[in-house]
């Protein structure tokens, strides 16, 4: 069980705001944080990890106070049993994949076995002797996830871990992340902008805006792309098409078609 109420002054594009979030997470829950940039998602995640000091509030994890403003308690990040996956992966360039994991697992019983298992699980065994600079984005991301798990955390924090990856890689890693979350019995907080990703992975989603919680609840599955038929009225000099939709609305779209032809348009909601 993780409970917290944390506040922190934010400097947003819209001026100064206060990040103020109170939540509790059940053990084994996967919570997604979503919202526009500047909403305070990363700041909240960093406060949970102890990388940013809150202005006030408390954070209690499994009965232990990690932070309490009133009694001035503060557990430094080194002593919080959590795994953190950074947006830029933050792999150590001087170490190979295996050394990155070894470094994380150091000092634990069965460290070598843990590292072997994680390399296997995230399909990194073949890449174990490579340095991060010689890996693709998706591979680096898998190493970052494996490294975060190597110190056997109970809480996993992920800061937009998949945002920079192409769709097929992202989908494979979503699957890996879901498996890891269940297999290691983790409580996970994931920052994501992708409604499909949230719907696929998260038990609950918290939507933040300008430091405030706008909505907490089950993820909403994104609507399937809709299509509409229309007739080409004109092919414009810039290569775009003027279309007439049912009901008489006219729109300009990109595409290739003959004058007068009826074609299907797909509609994307943004």
């Amino acid at each position: 069980m993780i409970e917290f109420h944390l506040t922190k002054a934010l400097h947003t594009a819209a001026g100064p705001r206060t990040l103020d979030v109170a939540l509790s997470l059940a053990p084994g829950e996967l919570l997604a944080l979503s919202g526009p940039s500047g909403a305070g998602k990363t700041t909240l995640l960093r406060m949970l990890a102890g990388l940013t000091r809150p202005d006030a509030g408390f954070l209690r994890v499994e009965g232990q106070l990690w932070y309490d403003h009133a009694s001035r308690q503060w557990l430094p990040p080194q002593r919080r049993p959590l795994g953190f996956v950074f947006q830029d992966y933050a792999l150590f360039p001087n170490m190979t994949v295996r050394e990155n994991l070894n470094f994380a697992a150091e000092g634990q019983s069965g460290a070598k076995q843990t590292v072997g298992e994680l390399l296997e699980l995230l399909e990194l065994t073949e890449l174990a002797a490579r340095r991060p600079a010689a890996l693709s984005g998706g591979q680096q991301q898998r190493v970052a996830l494996a490294r975060a798990l190597a110190c056997r955390p109970r809480l996993l924090l992920l800061d937009e871990p998949l945002s920079a990856l192409d769709l097929p890689t992202r989908q494979r890693l979503q699957q890996a992340l879901g498996e890891v979350h269940r297999q290691f019995k983790l409580t996970t907080v994931l920052i994501s902008h992708d409604p499909a990703e949230i719907a696929r992975l998260a038990d609950r989603v918290v939507e933040l805006d300008l430091g405030q919680v706008r909505r907490v609840g089950p993820p909403v599955a994104p609507a399937a792309p809709a299509t509409v038929r229309g007739r080409v009225l004109a092919v414009l000099p810039n290569g775009r098409l003027r279309m007439q939709l049912p009901g008489g609305t006219e729109v300009e779209v990109n595409g290739v078609a003959q004058l007068g032809e009826e074609i299907e348009l797909s509609v994307v909601y943004q």
């Binding site: 102890g50 990388l51 990040p77 080194q78 795994g83 830029d88 933050a90 150590f92 360039p93 470094f103």
Partner: protein, 225 residues
């Protein structure tokens, strides 16, 4: 070859090596603090560290000469309490070199720390690593070019030191006479061949050091990418 050629060269290399080694030890914590400090006093500290870049060496040498003499409280403390008579001695010119070459060590190291992404340090912290472990195993290995740069610049700069050593150390063969002063001394007495022996050696050493630096930097860059 000048009669005390090897003696002078040994002394020159000893001064450069000791200065480099000591400045690595002193410069690292200083650069680390300067790179991470958010104190309002930081510009002041940076100015103090960089002062030797813009001051004439004779000014540094003059004030150190005064500070080490028995006419100041510091000098009397050094001489009477610690038994350290620094003027016209090797330890004296070593202290002078440390002050004079400080920015050549601290500035590359500070830039090296600042170039590393903050997330590397934070990642190490979330893996439970202490500050010391993070510095030793994560930060320093990833700023090898900066370390090498600082060490090489300090070494080469100390080899070419003249004004500070002359002010504090004078020109005592075997004790404070370094190659750059020997060159001046030989030229004063019109011994151009002997001056040439020292000057040629300094030129060759400086060139070799720089070639080594660029060769290693290239190799290291290829190795990390």
């Amino acid at each position: 070859m000048p009669p005390d050629y090897w003696q002078t060269l040994r002394l020159t290399l000893a001064l450069a090596s000791c200065t480099t080694a000591l400045l690595l030890v002193l410069g690292l914590p200083l650069a680390y603090v300067l790179a991470h400090s958010r104190s309002r006093l930081r510009p002041l500290a940076e100015a103090v560290v960089s002062l030797p870049l813009v001051l004439p060496p004779t000014v540094i040498g003059f004030y150190l000469l005064l500070a080490f003499s028995d006419s100041t409280a510091l000098g009397r403390f050094l001489i009477e309490k610690l038994g350290l008579s620094l003027n016209f001695s090797f330890p004296g010119i070593l202290v002078g070199s440390l002050v004079y070459s400080l920015p050549f060590m601290v500035q590359p190291l500070q830039a090296g720390f600042q170039q590393l992404p903050r997330s590397l340090t934070e990642a190490a912290y979330t893996l439970g690593k202490s500050r010391g472990t993070t510095l030793w195993r994560v930060l320093l290995p990833n700023m090898k070019p900066a370390l090498l740069n600082g060490a090489v610049l300090t070494f080469a700069h100390t080899l070419g030191e003249f004004g500070v050593v002359l002010m504090i150390g004078g020109n005592l063969p075997g004790r404070t006479r370094v190659a750059s002063i020997a060159i001046y001394d030989e030229v004063q007495s019109l011994q151009y061949d002997q001056a040439n022996a020292y000057a040629g050696t300094l030129l060759a050493v400086a060139f070799a050091i720089l070639v080594g630096l660029y060769w290693f930097s290239k190799k290291d860059a290829a190795h990390l990418s």
